[in-house]
């Protein structure tokens, strides 16, 4: 078989365009690499803290990665060189932050009610006082940052428009002053390579940690007797995807570097070269992967055991050295404390210090609240305006234009609604004001019953749910005539309930115990603990509903 060529053309044609792999495959691989890393962290979080829906953050991370890559490609186009990239990136991050906040509310189902909104208005920090949201923000940022960094590297590596335009000209038409500045692209790929390796170490470390029984570790609070689990399937897939995508990206980067060099050197590149390059990379990885699958696992071969023992020995030595250093440090600290302590006079005989002066009278609470409300509102006003401006700036150059006519119509509708509401209120006040001016009748001794409001049970935390079960039971029992006295403890009240509903003594006891734990115990309450309490509560509710009101207590 032979391939023959004669009189190769001056212009290498296959270099002068962006291929589908650059436009499609490469962004996908970058996204996979970035999301794989955060997936490993999510899996680790899920293993350590299984009560939270961590895997719901995966779409968020994928969105952040995709958005970052697309925006990087978009910003890299020549006509957007004049755009302020830093500002644009900042608005992009603000948009992702807003999106993350709404997404976490959506996932957890804990949309803020009016009281919470009021509290957030007073204290904006409450908006961020959510561990799940903070973790989601951190992971989204990590994914976005890595995706943007990798996309930028690969865009810089590939021959740019100026180079393609210049080297596409015949040699005699090239003006030396138009020659693009050539630079070494290898450090860029090396940068990506480093990032990939750091990520792979983190990933592998996470994968190793997920093989430990972390829940058992938390419950036992001891490292001894730590159980080992197998590698999870999702972690296995994550590892495979990360390494495969990374290798393919490195291969693509290598090809891009060579392609830029070939372009500058007027090397003729055959059109099928790029496709075959990727085929070769795939083939090599598959063959090596297949061969590796049949090799003995390193820990089972004798040399592997020796190496493992060596590593353990190194670890033991490091521990011993650290332990000795700690002992020396503690000893020195104790000695210094002793020396300093012996020189100070005995304070036992001295008269007690005078009591601290009483604090000045604070301003009335209402004034504090008004100021907080004012500053909170001002802060949120600024945030909303900045957010809207950021969103407009972010979307403006991407073809999404704000329809001012539509905005004006909405504002006009809001104004009309507000005006109508104001008119109604004014009429109401005008009607009620004369009655209000009349002398008030003495109020009754019994307070008005609290207004019923709908509570969404799933939006409550596990602790609040158990409280709700108990308090609703108390309310139902009160309706049935077994009211809880102010002086009664929950256990005393449970005794009353069991007297009146002896068939529900188990449920009453369980519910009371759960309530006591939820109300007074500092230990965390997980989702799994709520379900049995709920069962008891439902059963008790049915019994309370079935029994008629007793004649007397």
């Amino acid at each position: 078989m032979s391939q023959t060529t004669s009189s190769p053309p001056v212009l290498p044609p296959s270099i002068a365009h962006k291929s589908w792999s650059e436009r499609v495959l490469q962004p996908v691989l970058i996204g996979i690499t970035a999301v794989s890393l955060t997936t490993a962290l999510l899996i680790l979080l899920h293993v350590a803290l299984p009560m939270r829906p961590w895997f719901w953050l995966l779409p968020l991370c994928a969105f952040a990665a995709g958005e970052g890559i697309l925006t990087t490609h978009w910003l890299f186009q020549p006509e957007r060189r004049t755009l302020n990239h830093t500002l644009y990136r900042a608005t992009e991050l603000v948009s992702i932050l807003f999106f993350t906040r709404f997404y976490t509310w959506f996932v957890l189902g804990n949309w803020p009610d009016l009281n919470q909104i009021y509290n957030i208005l007073l204290s904006p920090i409450l908006l961020f006082a959510d561990v799940y949201f903070l973790v989601a923000t951190l992971l989204a940022w990590i994914t976005w940052q890595r995706a943007v960094d990798a996309a930028h590297v690969f865009l810089k590596i590939a021959p740019d428009t100026a180079e393609i335009a210049y080297y596409s000209l015949p040699r005699h038409k090239r003006q030396p002053e138009n020659r693009p500045v050539s630079f070494d692209r290898s450090p860029l790929l090396m940068h990506f390579f480093q990032q990939w390796i750091y990520g792979s170490v983190v990933l592998v470390f996470c994968a190793a940690l997920t093989t430990f029984d972390l829940v058992g570790l938390v419950n036992r609070r001891s490292l001894f007797g730590l159980a080992r689990l197998g590698l999870r399937a999702d972690m296995l897939v994550t590892l495979l995807l990360y390494f495969l995508a990374g290798f393919l990206l490195i291969s693509q980067g290598r090809f891009a570097i060579l392609r830029a060099r070939w372009l500058a050197e007027n090397v003729r590149l055959r059109p099928e070269m790029e496709r075959k390059w990727y085929q070769q990379a795939w083939r090599l990885l598959l063959v090596v992967g297949l061969v590796a699958a049949f090799l003995p696992i390193g820990s089972t071969v004798p040399i592997g055991r020796l190496v493992a023992w060596f590593f353990r020995l190194v670890l033991v030595v490091v521990n011993v050295v650290f332990y000795l250093f700690s002992l020396v440090f503690i000893g020195l600290f104790a000695l210094i404390s002793f020396l300093l302590g012996s020189g100070t006079p005995d304070l036992g005989d001295l008269p007690a210090p005078p009591p601290p002066p009483s604090p000045p009278d604070l301003l009335p609470e209402e004034v504090d609240e008004a100021i907080a409300l004012f500053f909170g509102s001002f802060f949120w006003g600024v945030v909303v305006v900045a957010g809207v401006l950021a969103l407009i700036f972010f979307l403006r150059d991407r073809g999404v234009r704000l329809e001012w006519g539509w905005v004006t119509a909405v504002l006009r509708a809001i104004r009309n609604w507000w005006y109508g509401l104001w008119q109604d209120l004014s009429q109401q006040i005008t009607r009620v004001w004369p009655e209000w001016q009349q002398p008030k009748r003495p109020s009754s001794s019994t307070p008005a019953p609290a207004r019923w409001r709908f509570i969404r049970l799933n939006a409550l935390s596990p602790r609040d749910q158990i409280r709700y079960f108990y308090l609703s039971t108390v309310r139902r029992a009160s309706d049935k005539g077994v009211a809880r006295q102010v002086s009664e403890t929950p256990l005393e009240y449970a005794h009353d309930l069991k007297e009146n509903w002896p068939e529900a003594d188990t449920d009453v006891e369980s519910l009371t115990d759960a309530f006591l734990k939820a109300q007074y115990s500092p230990s965390p309450i997980v989702d799994e603990e709520v379900h049995p309490v709920k069962v008891h509560w439902k059963r008790l509710k049915a019994r309370l509903r079935g029994r008629k009101r007793p004649s007397g207590r």
């Binding site: 390579f193 080992r228 390494f243 099928e272 070269m273 990379a281 390193g298 820990s299």
Partner: protein, 424 residues
């Protein structure tokens, strides 16, 4: 960096005892080892050769074929080849290509060279470069050593020189009746008083009933040595490059013509041959742009670079030898003709014709040539630089006993393109 990854994976795998990390470690190690082992070995084992005719006449188109064969079983993902071609010879084609070479596949590339200027040119080397798919190892480079192409000087076909000779019984027709060759009968004519009796053609006389004698074609033996003066100090500075080339072309044309006439021809020159005088161990140096052979001769050591004289011999093989030397020869500041010519002609046979190609026919040159005449040689002066007063040179030459011609332009050679017209 990649080694760092492997070590980190190894440490984590052994410390935390996760078997799948071993698998990843194996894959990374496998890719690395494959890249490290396969590509240098494969590149080194590539068969490559350059096929072309290593000598060409001026104006010819030389076809060069490059063959690269991969004897291995697995593909070579990319192979970049680049052939260095002299700019003066390029025909707008170049071999600068990247391609995939499958196992047991042969790639062939053909390009052409245009022989525009005489010289000794380096073709190549052919650079072959390859590397792995991931950039884990540095690129590897191999070369196919260069070959050399000799382009002979332009040869202008000549018909009849008409140079005087003192040697009889040659193969060249002559207008000098003295040199009539009895082995080459040409016809008959009427008898005139004084004609030898043995030249009477008796059969024809009987047939015509009057005495007629045989006529013979006159012929001479023209053993010739072309003397080429390439001492740059004797050339006019501003036109030196063109005139020296023209002088070489004249010398080559004369040599070719005489060899075609089956006459022995030799070559004596005081130019320099870049291949002469350089150390055997050192490689010849070529100009990177033009591809021409460069010389390290200086005015002090130029004489050591002068090629040895080629004694007069006949035959095409001998002509090729002369033309090869004329292809490489360069003008330089060597020994002037007046000092060099007499010693150079000491070993030549008596009566040999010396075609002295020189830029000027000044007094010193003519006196030197006159001394050759007195030693029994037969010098003919060929002046190649334009000279408005060449008539004086011709007169001076005639007075000193030799012939002088002015061949400053190509049209001056037309007089020798005419066929022989024998006066009977």
């Amino acid at each position: 960096m990649f080694s760092g990854l492997l070590l980190a994976l190894l440490a984590i795998a052994f410390l935390l005892q996760v078997d799948f990390i071993f698998y990843i470690l194996y894959v990374c190690l496998g890719v690395y080892l494959w890249s490290r082992w396969y590509f240098p070995r494969t590149l080194h084992g590539l068969e490559r050769r350059r096929v072309f005719v290593q000598r060409a006449f001026w104006g010819e188109k030389v076809s060069v074929r490059l063959v690269v064969r991969h004897n291995g079983r697995f593909s070579l993902p990319w192979l970049q080849i680049h052939e260095s071609v002299p700019v003066q010879l390029t025909a707008g084609e170049e071999v600068n290509e990247v391609f995939l070479l499958r196992g047991r596949e042969t790639a062939e590339f053909v390009y052409h060279l245009q022989a525009r200027r005489r010289g000794y040119y380096k073709i190549g080397p052919l650079w072959l470069k390859t590397g792995d798919l991931f950039g884990l190892i540095p690129e590897k480079t191999e070369t196919l050593p260069p070959d050399y192409l000799t382009i002979y000087p332009r040869i202008i076909p000549l018909g009849y020189l008409g140079l005087p000779s003192r040697q009889l019984f040659g193969t060249i027709s002559s207008q000098q009746r003295l040199f009539a060759d009895p082995t080459r009968p040409m016809g008959v004519r009427d008898y005139r008083s004084g004609d030898p009796i043995r030249q009477i053609h008796w059969k024809a006389s009987g047939h015509t009933r009057k005495l007629v004698v045989k006529t013979y074609e006159p012929a001479i033996s023209l053993e010739t040595a072309v003397v080429l003066n390439l001492c740059t100090t004797e050339y006019t500075r501003y036109s030196r490059a063109q005139i020296t080339e023209w002088a070489i072309e004249v010398a080559a044309s004369l040599a070719a013509h005489l060899v075609n006439q089956r006459q022995p021809v030799g070559l004596l020159t005081n130019g320099i041959d870049p291949l002469v005088g350089t150390a055997v161990s050192s490689q010849p140096v070529f100009d990177s742009q033009s591809g021409r052979l460069l010389t390290d001769a200086t005015p002090e050591n130029a004489a050591t670079h002068m090629p040895p004289h080629i004694p007069p011999r006949s035959g095409r093989a001998h002509l090729m030898k002369i033309l090869e030397q004329l292809a490489r020869i360069e003008a330089a500041e060597t020994i002037p003709l007046s000092q060099w010519l007499i010693p150079a002609c000491m070993h030549l046979n008596w009566g040999i014709a010396l075609l002295i190609v020189t830029p000027k026919g000044d007094e010193a040159t003519c006196q030197t040539i006159h001394r050759l005449v007195r030693t029994g040689l037969n010098p003919i002066l060929l002046v190649v630089e334009p000279d408005a007063n060449f008539g004086r040179v011709r007169e001076r030459a005639a007075q000193l006993g030799f012939v002088a011609y002015h061949v400053a332009v190509r049209q001056d050679l037309d007089r020798w393109k005419r066929p022989l017209q024998v006066r009977v």
